[in-house]
């Protein structure tokens, strides 16, 4: 559904502003200036959205986690602590920036800057509205996957250059994990691409709009894979092993101090926000919400869904312990990859049936949803039964000595009695 070029003050289609500007520039200037201007406007727009959002989200994350931890959270700077992120940023900027003497200077200085490149680029293909994305690429999904792969390299550079073992551990872990978890993420997106028949991010939203359904209902397993794979790529719990603070201090950014650390931190949050937005776009309908987008600015709908997903990420972080590297790996390769392949086949089959047999989507999609939820549930159940180690199913109560006391002999008696229970 293409809205007509609206008035510039109509918030439903911010694209109108940039269109006005480019048309105005095209009147007098060369067209390459116009394309550069649109690019700049798009980048500024993205920054204008994620910058303030980030500040609010830092506050939100601290506040929500504080509530989960039976604390109050920041409440001193500004009303209800809202200015706390600003104070943090100021503090970080004022701090001394140290570099280890043995660090590889250039490779050490570059990553905090470079890591912003994929973090900003990734927003380029996100549709904030029907025609509201910086670049509505024909291959937006592929772009997303390719760009998020670059992140790994920057993190590796950061981890390697510090000449710090914790950092190198973090770098090695992040590479191993990101490479592994890219596969489930790609598989989950591929299932969507197969099913909707488009590589464009906006195309997937439009498909959901045309069929009046969110893809989360049809592909729950893909959603789970995307969510969990993203936590692994974003280094958030339960997969934050690359900066596991109790093991390797801060992982790949151990030696970064001051605002350099602040940049890593900001990018981590920005990436989380971006992945939340992409999850909302792929699986929750993006800017579309059953016709509500006619009345409310579409980017507000997207932001609301993004906030919901961001809350899920905060929730995960506040509640879950961390998995070990080998456990994460085996979970990826033994569960996600096979299940992802199964769902790839399922998506392809269902798409073919839908097109070849000409079924009515209104009838077919609910059936598909039921089937896919069934397969996903069965997969999870089978994995939980077979792959989980038998030790994990031991009872979660200790043996009670019941008056026995003593050393090895009593221990043996207790064990015998306990095994008889």
């Amino acid at each position: 559904m293409n809205l007509p070029a609206a008035e510039w003050y109509d918030l439903r289609d911010l694209n109108g502003i940039s269109r006005l500007i480019t048309e105005w520039v095209a009147d007098w200037g060369p067209d390459w200036l116009a394309s550069i201007l649109t690019g700049v406007i798009g980048a500024l727009g993205v920054l204008a959205i994620i910058g303030p959002t980030l500040l609010i989200l830092i506050w939100l994350e601290r506040k929500v986690i504080a509530r989960m931890q039976a604390r109050i959270g920041p409440n001193r700077v500004g009303p209800v602590g809202l200015l706390q992120p600003v104070a943090d940023a100021v503090k970080l900027i004022l701090k001394e920036e140290l570099a280890p003497r043995a660090a590889d200077k250039w490779v050490f200085f570059l990553p905090p800057v470079l890591i912003f490149v994929p973090a900003i680029l990734i927003w380029g293909v996100l549709p904030f509205g029907p025609n509201m994305s910086v670049a509505d690429l024909e291959m937006g999904v592929l772009f997303l996957v390719a760009i998020s792969g670059v992140n790994v390299l920057v993190v590796f550079m950061a981890g390697w250059a510090q000449n710090n073992k914790y950092a190198l551990f973090g770098a090695m872990r992040v590479i191993a994990m990101s490479i592994s978890y890219e596969i489930p993420v790609v598989l989950s997106l591929l299932a969507l691409v197969f099913f909707t028949g488009t590589l464009s991010v906006n195309g997937i939203v439009l498909w959901q709009q045309a069929n009046d359904v969110v893809l989360f209902l049809i592909f729950p397993m893909s959603a789970l894979m995307f969510l969990f794979g993203s936590t692994a790529e974003l280094n958030r719990t339960p997969a934050d092993i690359s900066e596991a603070e109790s093991e390797i201090v801060a992982g790949y950014h151990t030696e970064y101090s001051g605002m350099r650390f602040g940049l890593f931190y900001a990018v981590e949050l920005a990436n989380t926000l971006a992945i939340s937005a992409f999850f909302a776009t792929f699986f929750l309908g993006g800017w579309w919400l059953w016709g509500l987008d006619q009345w409310v600015p579409s980017w507000l709908i997207l932001l609301a869904k993004t906030g919901l997903m961001y809350f899920v990420f905060i929730w995960l972080r506040g509640t879950l312990p961390r998995l070990r590297l080998d456990q994460l790996m085996s979970f990826c390769w033994k569960f996600f990859v096979p299940v992802g392949l199964v769902f790839l086949a399922v998506a392809a089959t269902q798409r073919t049936l839908l097109i070849e047999l000409g079924w009515d989507p209104a009838v077919a999609l609910p059936i598909y949803a039921v089937i896919n939820w069934g397969i996903a549930g069965a997969g999870v159940a089978i994995y939980a039964r077979t792959a989980a180690s038998p030790a994990q199913r031991l009872p979660s109560r200790p043996v009670m000595a019941r008056g026995r006391l003593g050393g090895l002999r009593a221990a043996r008696e207790l064990a015998d009695a306990g095994s008889g229970d």
């Binding site: 060369p30 390459w32 394309s35 390719a146 390299l153 490479i179």
Partner: protein, 198 residues
Amino acid sequence: MSDVGFHLAFWSLSALTIGGALMIIVSRNLIHAVIFLILSFIGVAGLFITLSADFLALVQILVYVGAIAVLMLFAILLTPRAARDNEESLMRYPAMILMGLVIAAGVFVALETDWGPMREGAIGTQAKIIGESLINQYVLPFEIGAVMLTAALVGAIALARQDDEDLPIHTASLIEEGVLPPPDGDAADAPAGPGDDS
């Protein structure tokens, strides 16, 4: 896109590509060399975009930057005792002559050949065309490519896998000492070392 923007893009990307490649020769550190290689790859991806081959540009970034470069970094880190420098052997001078010859020949051929009629416009929806030709016209090479990738995967795993006798030297000595359980044994059954505390 107009000429100016196009020229700007082409020349800067060419400089990036070739400069990155030259820096691989110059840089003394293997890890720096890989980083410059990545720069070169990204330049090539940009050149692909100027050739309106968007799909290939993304595949280039995905495969070369995201996978091959990372594999190389991994391999460098996993061969720690090997020399880290990126030195050149005595083949340098013949290779340099050969490089000059190849450049000369390439430039000569490029400039002197009549390439026939040039097509002006770019082709859209490349992903669709490439995808369809892959499963229609080129389905056999496609399948062979898939089999080859699988074979390479299996082969690489088989090559790089460590056998038990390849365990690091002092892991083996610790197993002998009884501190470590044997590779297939149960950790709880390992006999305790004589002084197991510190």
